[in-house]
Symmetry: C2
Subunit: 366 residues, 2 copies
């Protein structure tokens, strides 16, 4: 028996386990598998143009009738700042020279776009159970339209102030994103990483601060973390890195190998890949120019700056410039399918919640 | 019923709650109160000369017959490095000028001394139930002598590698010190803060890596954290910041006020106070020269460098240079006595462990 059913009820899901949306690593197959297993699968939509978004949502509708979460970014589009962009490209000049590449004339914004009117119209049409945002929330008008369409709205808070802001601006639940989490920090009200707390500290403080159910994220690698999250006051968990080990993860063999070797590896929160802080497996770029650099360009222009270097290095079998997002629990990862992982996590957690003598608290997914 | 009794049995304590030793903030009164309440009180001995150590232990014996933990540092004494010290004093020169102070000619090591032969002889004589170390372990010979005297040995691991090292070098249990923790990081096998994990990620990985009971530390602010720690695989918790709110904390009114205001405050892991990374409430020194500086002197010489500045600023009512150690859970702190806090934490945790319908998971200490 789950000790708290608020998010199971709110999202109409069997298991309060949300697969984290991971743009560039999780696709429709993973989201569908997790939702079919009884959790909440998430589709990372931040890199989809409108046409692509529509076609993926048509496929999703064909593949599952279970609740799904669509995730978008809510960042402000970067202003033109040629001087800043040129400065960052200057920092990268030696790398471009090393690979015999010419430095780009400018940094295009690329495919990572904030949620907007056009995307909202498509989402309204499909009315998914849940829409989640990263980097705050889009304009209040768009949030209101999604709510009117019946979508539940969630977003990530990395501080108490952000949790309160999200609660006051239309969220139905708050993702408490602890510092252990892989990928981009959702942080949106501060530039200071000193504000960023670990999951153990963040979840109870957010649970105390807002009158909404809390989803714990960051460092939760197996059922032990799920049980711990509920003890801290969470009503659900969001797990990313654990799902990178599933067959459905759309990642390169090099990325997969890095994860499997990650038990002794270090991760760092860096802004030198995209322009915003994100936790990745440390690599040459992160070590040499970061992890945090005051010269990094506005998000998401960093991607364009390192793209040619990443491609050239990967052709040589090197991950020196690769964005291998990874949380701090990679050592707990186990190969599985997304369906079997979801079921195993739920079963192991439920076993721990049962009254009775001390139990084995986790097992490998079958 | 506690779900795991390994550390209750090993230390012969009623409640698996360890008050963290906090040199300069926790004294004998706090340690005695926690042990009398049924937890494990810790006496921070790192700043005691041999004579003082002996007199404190005589007092301790008079005040409680319960198990106590004596904590020492196991750092290497710093080599003489006049150039480095002068460089750091140069970084501080503008502050010295601001207060009309003359810059010290050199940086003395001061009162923070590593555990040694003389201290070992005194500890053997008193044979406390537990001896804990920070920054690794002292020489193997000293560890062996303490074990022969019947003391259980524990130390902090901040990485999996450190946990394995401590297990191989004579520890009876491992403190898994998550990144949320206030005060000095126990880190001793690496200089990289990227290796430092949050409690949610660190505890299960250390529990998997070593065949010893694990004490969870970092970000545990109330009974919710205790229950979570056990779910992650811990057999006890160590809590520091929560005990800074007790009457027995030997801290200045300004420090106490900073803690009470800490709900919205930021902490940072900095080396600009002592020379080693420690989590403190951010202040002017940390913001302007840190949090981490490659120029910081060897531990513990940093204390001598900022001492005159701290004193001068505090006389003006400013905490610009004060070492206000604080974990990330200060917002969960409640005024109490060390005895009542220990009892309330234990009672609240036990209530959560009882089988039955969902319960209120925490209450304020009475």
């Amino acid at each position: 028996m789950w000790p708290d059913n608020r998010l199971r009820d709110l999202f109409s899901i069997d298991y309060p386990i949300i697969q984290a949306p991971m743009a560039g690593a999780s696709g429709l197959d993973m989201a569908v598998a997790v939702s079919e297993a009884g959790g909440l699968g998430s589709l990372a939509c931040a890199m989809f143009e409108a046409d692509r978004l529509r076609s993926v949502l048509v496929s999703a509708q064909e593949q599952t009738r279970r609740p799904l979460n669509l995730n978008f970014f809510a960042h402000a589009s970067p202003r033109n700042d040629l001087e800043r962009d040129a400065g960052w490209l200057g920092r990268l000049a030696a790398y471009y020279a090393e690979f015999g590449l010419s430095i780009p004339a400018e940094l295009p914004v690329g495919s990572v776009q904030p949620f907007d009117e056009a995307r909202c119209a498509i989402v309204e049409e499909f009315a998914p159970a849940v829409v989640s945002f990263h980097f705050g929330l889009p304009d209040a008008g768009l949030v209101a339209r999604l709510r009117s369409a019946g979508c539940k709205i969630i977003s990530s808070a990395t501080t108490i102030a952000e949790a309160r802001w999200l609660a006051a601006n239309g969220c139905d639940a708050i993702i408490a994103q602890g510092y252990e989490a892989g990928g981009h920090r959702g942080v949106f009200l501060t530039d200071s990483l000193d504000s960023q707390m670990g999951t153990m500290a963040l979840v109870p403080q957010i649970a105390d601060a807002v009158d909404l159910p809390v989803i714990a994220a960051g460092g939760i690698g197996d059922a032990r973390g799920i049980v711990a999250a509920f003890a801290l006051g969470a009503s659900a968990v969001q797990m990313g890195t654990a799902y990178l080990f599933t067959e459905e993860a759309v990642i390169s063999p090099a990325y997969r190998k890095s994860l499997e070797d990650a038990a002794g590896a270090e991760t760092a929160v860096c802004n030198v890949i995209s322009g915003r802080p994100a936790r990745v497996l440390t690599n040459r770029l992160v070590s040499e120019l970061g992890p945090m650099s005051t010269d990094a360009p506005a998000f998401p222009k960093g991607f364009a700056a390192i793209g040619p270097l990443r491609d050239a290095a990967e052709q040589l079998g090197k991950t020196d410039f690769s964005a291998h997002y990874c949380g701090q629990s990679a050592a707990l990862g186990r190969k599985a399918t997304a369906f079997s992982l979801t079921r195993a996590l739920a079963a192991d957690a439920l076993r721990s919640f049962e009254p009775g003598p001390a139990k084995k608290r986790h097992s490998a997914p079958s």
